[in-house]
């Protein structure tokens, strides 16, 4: 269990983490989401005591991280797979970490086996690929058989096989009753793995809920309709209180009305329907919608004026047709 209370970190005049309060509950995968620069890594560094909070506090199993008797036993972290001395072999890297917490030497062999690095254990890690480096980092996190595992963007830059491996590993670890706290800027990744979500933008907590609830709360239900008479149906939908936008291939996308009501409208007015389908906005869309105002670095087309408050125009969602 990780508990943050009013956690705040200021770098110069920039608030990297702003009054964060959350609890990472045991026994499930908690996704920590936010656009790049939202403060995810800083939050994780604060948890590990690498950075000192400007205000507030964060505890691991009720204690400050630096006060834990055997930190590796409580929490295993992979913040940056490149945070190793490249001149040291994988085995010696893990051994020197294990020794700090009195972990026996045989455990090094076990975790190397677990992540599939036994064959390159004696090789210096500077020659490792990104995927191998990631595995080495995960091996280090698992050394103390910790109750909590914390991964910062673990799938970044990995090939599909590597991504699948990490995903399955996290599920296996959670299946053993461990707490997993994993950050990502990719909603799609969380949709596949997480049970619970913490969403942050510009250092502030935006959402703290289950994945299903997050989609439900933040996505607009829309209905895709195909008909030979889209103009007439569109007018009827607007008259009934909904909105419509043109969809792909001549389809009509309606919002604000449930599926059955649109079907009834068409039937009552004798309009032939070729398709009537509810479309659930994906988590990715919900995330984009939610964090659109809190993305730190907006991309602009050349010549476009930088207007920080232009959140709504930055979104790619067309607003309804009148």
């Amino acid at each position: 269990m990780i508990e943050a209370r009013g956690l705040t970190k200021r770098f110069g005049d920039k608030l990297a983490v702003d009054q964060l309060s959350f609890t990472v509950e045991p026994g499930r995968i908690t996704g920590f989401l936010g656009p790049n620069g939202a403060g995810k890594t800083t939050t994780m560094r604060l948890i590990l005591g690498l950075d000192r909070p400007t205000r507030g506090s964060v505890t691991v199993h009720g204690k400050e991280f630096t006060k834990l008797a055997y930190p590796m036993h409580e929490i295993g972290a992979l913040l940056d797979a490149k945070a190793v001395h490249g001149g040291r072999s994988a085995y010696n890297h893990l051994l020197c970490l294990a020794q700090t917490n009195g972990i026996p030497r045989r455990r090094v062999g076990e975790v190397l086996d677990l992540v599939g690095l036994t064959d390159v254990a004696k090789k210096r890690s500077k020659g490792f690929s990104l995927g191998m480096g990631q595995r080495l980092g995960i091996a280090a996190a698992l050394l103390g058989d910790p109750a909590i595992l914390m991964f910062d963007e673990p799938v970044n830059g990995l090939d599909p096989e590597g991504i699948l491996w990490i995903r399955n590993l996290m599920k296996a670890l959670a299946g053993e009753g461990r707490t997993i706290f994993v950050s990502s800027h990719l909603m799609s990744e969380m949709e596949n793995t997480a049970d619970h979500l913490l969403v942050i933008g510009r250092g502030r907590l935006i959402a703290d809920c289950s994945v299903a609830e997050f989609i439900k709360r933040n996505s607009v239900q829309s209905v895709r309709v195909r008909t030979p008479k889209p103009d007439i149906l569109a007018e009827l939908i607007v008259a009934a209180g909904g909105t419509t936008v043109p969809g792909v291939g001549g389809a009509l996308v309606a919002q604000g009305l449930p599926v059955h009501q649109i079907g009834d409208l068409a039937f009552e007015n004798g309009i032939r329907l070729h398709e009537l389908a509810p479309a659930q906005a994906s988590l990715e869309e919900a995330f984009m919608e939610l964090t659109a105002d809190s993305v730190e670095f907006h991309a602009h087309a050349p010549g476009q004026q930088d207007s920080a408050q232009a959140g709504s125009t930055d979104r790619m969602h067309p607003t309804g047709v009148a």
Binding site: H85, R88, Q99, T100, L114
Partner: protein
């Protein structure tokens, strides 16, 4: 890849002691593993021995080839054979700095502190392991330089023996001198966190200052140069006051160098403990 069994939580609990906490002894073992598992350690220490013994031998050979100019009363055969320490101090400064700056340059420091967040423990364990390794290799270097040098000088009856006054102190002192120079670099490394900066600062303090004070007017020089860390510290590996009567004697001189190192280490510890990693 199959990742079915991570190790059952119940059985793994036995891996770790029931009581106590990750402490200084654990950190010492870890830091010893670190220092002996990188090639730079071996290359640097090999360079130290070769450079010191080699330069000492050359210096002695030079004296041996012109023995007629040597006055036996003023000639310090021990110091002559240890002349390689002038360069050796710079070699050990590299290793001292690297002991801590390599953690920053590679990013390893973040991993180190996320498994042992008690920073004082990490800093002290690194310092102790580095000091002990340096002292051991320093003794090999110092005694090696002494015996090789004396063997060269012995043909001209200029050589010293360990039994003569101050000689054993000077030879052991050579190792202490190297250790203190290394610790100075370690402390500066913790303050500066950057390999090149830490090595430059240490060389500046040990070497450049020593050269610069030579340009001062003589009356100033006599008051200033004895306080320079390398000049003061070098007195411990002399057996005669060949540098002039105004300089500190062996142990007070070494205390001056140790004082510089202590200040650097305390500053390093403060930085290490308080700054974000």
């Amino acid at each position: 890849m199959a990742t079915t069994q991570i190790a059952s939580a119940a059985s793994q609990r036995l891996l770790l002691p029931e009581t106590g906490r990750a402490g200084f002894g654990d950190a010492l073992r870890s830091e010893f593993t670190k220092i002996k598992s990188t090639r730079s350690t071996y290359w640097t220490l090999l360079a130290l021995v070769v450079v010191c013994v080699g330069i000492g031998a050359l210096a002695c050979a030079g004296t041996a080839s012109h023995p007629q100019g040597v006055s036996p009363t003023n000639f310090d055969a021990t110091q002559q054979s240890l002349a390689g320490l002038y360069v050796g101090q710079l070699v050990i400064a590299v290793l001292g700095a690297l002991t801590i700056t390599s953690e920053y340059s590679t990013g390893m420091i973040r991993t180190t502190l996320s498994v042992q967040p008690r920073r004082g423990v990490v800093f002290a364990a690194k310092a102790v392991v580095f000091a002990v390794v340096t002292l051991v290799i320093g003794l090999i270097t110092s005694f090696g330089s002494f015996f090789v040098g004396q063997a060269i000088l012995s043909s001209h009856h200029l050589s010293a023996t360990l039994g003569e006054p101050n000689v054993l102190r000077a030879v052991i002192g050579g190792a202490l001198f190297l250790t203190a120079c290394g610790m100075l670099a370690y402390g500066l490394g913790a303050v500066l966190r950057h390999t090149a900066a830490a090595i430059s600062a240490t060389i500046g303090l040990l070497f450049v200052l020593t050269v610069l004070v030579q340009f001062l007017p003589q009356s100033w020089q006599d008051n200033v140069d004895k306080w320079m860390p390398a000049i003061a510290g070098s007195q411990i590996w002399t057996t005669k006051a060949t540098g002039g009567p105004h300089l500190f004697s062996a142990w007070p001189g070494f205390a001056v160098l140790a004082g510089y190192a202590a200040v650097a280490i305390i500053a390093g510890l403060v930085c290490f403990r308080t700054r974000d990693a």
